[in-house]
């Protein structure tokens, strides 16, 4: 069993800003702790410091037990990294070093087959055995069978780029959870996993006896798995010793307490300053008061030197104002609609004010259905139409706008587009401020974080005057607070909402569900359905 002890860690960014200051917390043996915070608050930096990738400017990290780290990029590997390389990289340092030595000795042997290189190769193999390399290979075989359904020898040279994001994640998670490391740092382990994959991850994290610190935005995962929540905010970190269910109340109470402590400090400070001034005046006329004045000065100096308590962290203010408007009773009608090759013909009627979750198998045509309703060209048969005064507004996954990549939010708002009039810089900045995007106003869209891009797209929906929102995985890149702001905005929206989502927490806010089955059948459900398997097509 292992633990992590973070003690008074400080980290300064290259531009001089202090990102983390006096960060201290402990993740005890066998704990499963979530690390949460806004985008850019310093979660990944803190994980890198704990992992040893970054040296803190001050403070120290103590831990016992081997450390296994799953980086955020696993799931989006597109280079020539092989399954074997990934498994080696996730192994303990001794196994990694022994593997590198065997590789190097093999290479030398291929170039120069003499006695010296043969003995060096034999020595490297002996080191491999001593480091537990053969045992690791047995584990890797179990891992690849569990994650990919094939033995290690049959997939070790396979490139990760040929695996789906979910398969890459599953492979890494199986390796870490079955490996010898006692402390695991997992940076967004649930990204790219479908709902059955997320459920699998929850079960594994619940049953593991390892000590786990993980970053996630998935509220369902946080609620089921985390037995404590470490929050990075306002340059510091604090720990809520309970689960996610009681986290919001604990955070609000902490913020109130900090504000109260600060208010009291300010009041006491002002009182001491006033008293010192009064005594200064009295000291001019009385030597006795002069002594008391100097004592008062010392007391004030000590009070100021001790410093004020930490300020209440600034609240992330995301105010989404999705207005909408009254439309005809029937907002969307489809009869015998079939998106060519994707599903069997189906009928659906969606009414003004409905909140419809579009769920189902990957590859079953959910996103295509939304694009069709948004007016894009999608091959289909059958009829569909929108009701009176229905104006669709489409939120696509963030990579779906290549034409935006080099333009800035202010530029995109200023120019407008059909159905969305342009606005001047002042109005654009005011709107961006409400979405917490002031700092990103003049940076290219491609350089914004996933969460910032998602918030900007919601702002465009607000400005377009849409009365039918078509949302394709809108919470995928949103941090917890932004996702909650979106839910509030949708609740207040006067119109109809259709959303494709794998976010179980978000899906609970919908009242009807259209499910695209793996067998091509489209059906309605009153409850969310997340266990449709991936559509299998010949490739």
């Amino acid at each position: 069993m292992g633990y992590v002890d973070v003690s008074t860690v400080r980290h300064t960014l290259s531009d001089g800003r202090v990102l983390l200051d006096d960060v201290s917390f402990r993740i005890g043996e066998g704990a499963c702790a979530a690390l949460v915070g806004e985008n850019g608050a310093g979660k990944t930096t803190l994980l890198r410091i704990i992992a040893g990738d970054l040296v803190p400017e001050a403070g120290a990290i103590a831990r016992t037990g081997g450390l296994g780290v799953m980086r955020q990029f696993i799931g989006s590997v597109r280079d020539e990294t092989t399954v074997q390389r990934l498994l080696v990289d996730l192994s303990p340092p001794a196994v990694r070093a022994a593997w590198e030595a065997v590789e190097s000795a093999e290479l030398t042997l291929m170039e120069t087959d003499d006695e010296r290189s043969q003995m060096a190769y034999a020595g490297a193999l002996a080191e491999w055995g001593d480091a537990g390399g053969y045992d690791a290979e047995v584990t890797w075989d179990t891992v690849t069978v569990a994650a990919l359904g094939v033995p290690y020898d049959r997939c070790k040279y396979r490139e990760l780029s040929t695996l789906s994001g979910g398969e890459q994640k599953r492979l890494a998670l199986e390796a870490l959870l079955r490996g010898p490391d006692e402390v695991l740092l997992l940076d967004e382990p649930d990204n790219y996993l479908d709902v059955p994959g997320k459920r699998w991850l929850e079960e594994r994290l619940l049953e593991t006896r390892k000590t786990v610190l993980f970053v996630s935005h998935d509220r369902e995962l946080l609620a089921r798995v985390a037995d404590r929540v470490v929050t990075v905010e306002g340059g510091g970190a604090w720990v809520h010793g309970g689960g996610f269910a009681s986290y919001h109340d604990a955070r609000a109470a902490r913020h109130e307490r900090l504000a109260e402590l600060r208010r009291r400090w300010d009041e006491e400070h002002q009182r001491l300053v006033d008293l010192t001034r009064t005594m200064q005046q009295q000291a001019a006329n009385s030597p006795d008061m002069a002594n008391r004045y100097h004592a008062m000065q010392t007391r004030l100096a000590k009070f100021e030197a001790a410093g004020p308590p930490p300020e209440r962290p600034p609240e992330q203010k995301v105010a989404m104002r999705l207005r909408g408007g009254r439309t005809g009773v029937r907002a969307v009608m489809a009869e015998q609609l079939e998106l060519t090759g994707l599903m069997r013909p189906f009928d659906v009627e969606i009414f003004y004010g409905d909140r419809v979750g579009v769920l189902g198998a990957n590859g079953a045509g959910k996103s295509h259905f939304l694009r069709l309703l948004a007016g894009q060209s999608v091959a289909h048969t059958g009829d569909w139409r929108l009701g009176a005064r229905v104006v669709p507004g489409f939120f696509a996954q963030t990579h779906a706008h290549p034409e935006w990549q080099d333009r800035t939010p202010v530029d995109l708002l200023w120019h407008g587009e059909p159905g969305r009039p342009g606005v001047d810089r002042g109005r654009a900045m005011a709107a961006l401020r409400r979405y917490g995007l002031t700092d990103s106003a003049d940076q290219p869209f491609r350089t914004m974080s996933g969460g910032q891009q998602a918030r900007f797209q919601i702002l465009l929906l607000e400005l377009s005057g849409a009365t039918l929102l078509l949302l394709d995985e809108p919470t995928d890149n949103l941090d917890v607070l932004s996702a909650e702001a979106l839910e509030e905005a949708l609740a207040a929206f006067d119109g109809t909402v259709l959303a494709v989502t794998h976010d179980r927490w978000f899906a609970r806010s919908f009242d009807r569900f259209v499910v695209f089955g793996a067998d091509g059948k489209v059906y309605e459900s009153t409850e969310p359905v997340f266990d449709e398997t991936r559509v299998v097509r010949e490739r």
Binding site: Q118, M119, A122, L125
Partner: protein, 77 residues
């Protein structure tokens, strides 16, 4: 004359590694037949086996045979 590595030269005779070493002796004797005497093959293989004693058992047959072949080549070279 025997081609079998004597049991007192290392681990027990039923050790899978040493069975494989015996097989290496057989193969190398055939390969170097007429150029090197069988007793020399046995001696070279036995020396190689001893020097590679710390190697993983699974890799030992290949390592021993490869090193012994290299040394026998040098003998006749």
């Amino acid at each position: 004359m025997t081609l079998v590595v004597p049991p007192d030269s290392g681990p027990a005779a039923d050790d899978p590694a040493d069975e494989a070493v015996s097989a290496a002796v057989g193969r190398l004797s055939g390969e170097f037949s007429g150029r090197v005497g069988p007793q020399l093959v046995v001696r070279v293989v036995r020396d190689c086996r001893r020097e590679l004693g710390g190697s993983p058992v699974g890799a030992l047959p290949e390592l021993v045979e490869r090193l012994a072949r290299y040394r026998l080549d040098r003998q006749i070279g």
